[in-house]
Every structure is written in C-alpha cells, then in structure tokens.
C-alpha cells in the first residue's frame, strides 16, 4: 500500500515533469538551451523581448554570435546596464558562454530584442528563435509566448 502510493507518486511526478522538461531543453553539442520564453508584444510597432539560459557543459568556451526570428525583421542580443539608477540599453555584441558556465538572458539584463515585428507576439502562441554560435553552429528553439506582464518562465 505504502510502496504503491510512493510508486504512483513517482510516476505522477515523471508524467508531470517529463514532457515539460523535454520541451524546455534543447541541446547543441556541448550547449544546453534552457527555459526559452518571450513576452507578448503590445502591437507591432514596439520591440519585443525573448529570454533563455545557455549552459555550456563543454571544456571550451563558445560565443553567441547572432540571433534571428521569423517574426522580426531584426533581432539582436541587447544588454542593460544600470548606471546609478539610469538604465541604458545597447547591443551586447558577441556573448561568450564560458566553459562549464552559463549565461542567462532575463528581464532587466541581457535579452533578445526583436525589432521591426512583422506580426505581433500573441500570448499562448510560440515563436521560433534561431541562435548562431561560433563553435557549436546553429540551433532553432521554440519559445512559448507569455503575457506582456510576465517576468519569468512559468
């Protein structure tokens, strides 16, 4: 009785987390792309943002060179710098993913800025994002679109 309830609990946990884990992770060589998500855009004239974490399990660093999305005419990794309370934003340039380390793109920090949107990013839908790395090459991941007020992957 006891064992079977533990067993069913374990099975339930696997059923609940298994598929979502599979969706939230993508692997490219030594790189693992985790928890991609994007914010719904408010109209198409305003730029939108997407976030994810890149983990490097290899022994050599890699560099994120470029990003692109089919919905946006131009996408770039942008960095925020907090200069005594004033936020300044600009292209981050190539982003190094150190060996054995990870780089998080998260609200208020590094983000994929999508400009010249051809269609709005609608909550509940998803967007394809292609990442181009110096060593590992290219990977296209699918990022779910959360509401405009989302601050973290749900």
């Amino acid at each position: 009785m006891k064992y079977s309830s533990i067993f069913s609990m374990v099975v339930t946990i696997f059923i609940l987390t298994g598929p979502s884990l599979a969706q939230e992770q993508a692997r490219l060589g030594d790189l693992v792309i985790e928890r991609p998500w994007a914010r719904a855009s408010i109209g198409t004239s305003r730029p939108a943002a997407a976030y994810l974490t890149i983990r490097n399990e290899g022994e050599e660093s890699d560099t994120l060179l470029a990003v692109r999305t089919p919905l946006s005419g131009k996408a770039e990794v942008h960095a925020m710098t907090n200069d005594s309370g004033v936020m300044r934003m600009g292209p981050a340039g190539p982003v190094e993913i150190p060996a054995g380390g990870e780089v998080s793109l998260a609200p208020g920090g590094l983000h994929i800025m999508m400009m010249k949107l051809q269609a709005p990013l609608v909550k509940g839908k998803s967007i394809e994002v292609t990442l181009k790395f110096e060593r590992a090459g290219e990977i296209t991941i699918t990022a779910p679109i959360y509401g405009p007020g989302a601050t973290r992957p749900e």
Binding site: S84, V86, M113, G149
Partner: protein
Amino acid sequence: MSTGGIDANGQVDRDGPPESEPMRRSLSRLRTVRHILWGVILLAGVGLGGFELWHRTRPDPNPTAQEMASSIVANFTLSTHTGATASDATYRGRWLLVFFGFTHCPDVCPTGLATIAQVMDELGPEGEAVQPLFISIDPERDTPEAMAEFVSAFHPRIVGLTGATEAVAAAAKNFRVYYERVEDASSPNGYTMEHTTSIYLIDPEGRFVKPYSYSATSEDIADSLRRKLKGKGQI
C-alpha cells in the same frame, strides 16, 4: 669607517665601500629621479582630488533617499491615457507609485510595470488606497492612445500619463528623473530612451516618501506599502 653610520659629509653609508666619483654621480642622479617621482605622485594626488571634487559636484542621477526627499516635488499636470487632465492634486488622499518610462521600451518598462501589477495583485483590496502611475518620458510617440494600449496590458489600475514635451519635462524635473533621447537606427522611429528606473512612493498629502529600486521585488514593495497603509490608516 664604521658600517651603517653617517660619515663626515652627513651621507648615509650603506654598508658599501667608500663612494667613488662615478657612484656619487649616480647617487645624485637617483636623487633627481626620486624628486621627479615625488612630483608625479603629488600631481596624481592633486588630479585625483580634482576629479573627486568634479565628480561630487556633478548632478548625481541617483542620489540617496534623504537627498531626494528634500528636493523631490511630486508635482505634475499631464493627460491620462483616457484623455483627461490630471495633476498631483487629482490623486490627493491616495498613495502613489510613480514609474517613468516609455511604451517602445522592450525590457525594462514592461518588467517595471509587471512588478507594479504584481504589487497591486498582492495588495488586493488593501491596494484601493494606492494609485500606480506610469509617466511617459517619450511624449513624441506616447499619445494617450498609445499609453492606453500599453498600460491596459499590465493592470487595470495603472494610469498612464503623458502630455506636451514641456509638461513631461517639468514632471521629470520635479521628480528629479533623468531621461535622454538616444539615436538608434534599429529602434522604431530611429531612437530609444534612457531613463531613471526607480519607482517613487508619494504619500496621500502629495509628499515624496522614498524610491524603490528597480530591482526591488513585488513582495518587497507590497510589504513596505502594507506597513505604510497600516501606519497611516486607510485614507
């Protein structure tokens, strides 16, 4: 001659053989080098002091809460996202959470407004005495319609305020908010804005209380507001 003493010429004997003429010359050269080095250090010191003085007299974009409290005047006359005129007096009797930004802001402003929306959700009915305001520092693009589209995406309680360039500049000046237009070819209309990202708390009498840092969590702000609401009672 004894070792380690001072000789008849008053020169320190550094445990060496008596100084020869070339050594005397090189010693005096060393002395000159030493004087030059002291000069360099002195100049560097004066330079650093001057820089520090310049740095201190430069307007600080993020002064301490105390400095701010004495100089921030929460005065504005702007237009709401529904097109009505609103001033600070309109909101007397309510606590104000004031955040400056612009609607073409992809990361910082949505994150700030999301935090404010979460604060309002966490406060629930207690939040009736709190009015969140989002003031545009980009009046060129942020018409009341654009503000309506933007703020309504975050929370029904947030009021967006915009107005003529001068009215916006006056509000920012009163709040000591810094903003600057930055040309950026990749942005819509070829420019983006840099701005102060603190969230300002104004009390029901219209007095500035404190800034919340952009990195404050919604829990932090909600807790702080609850304490203020309890202290002053529901007004």
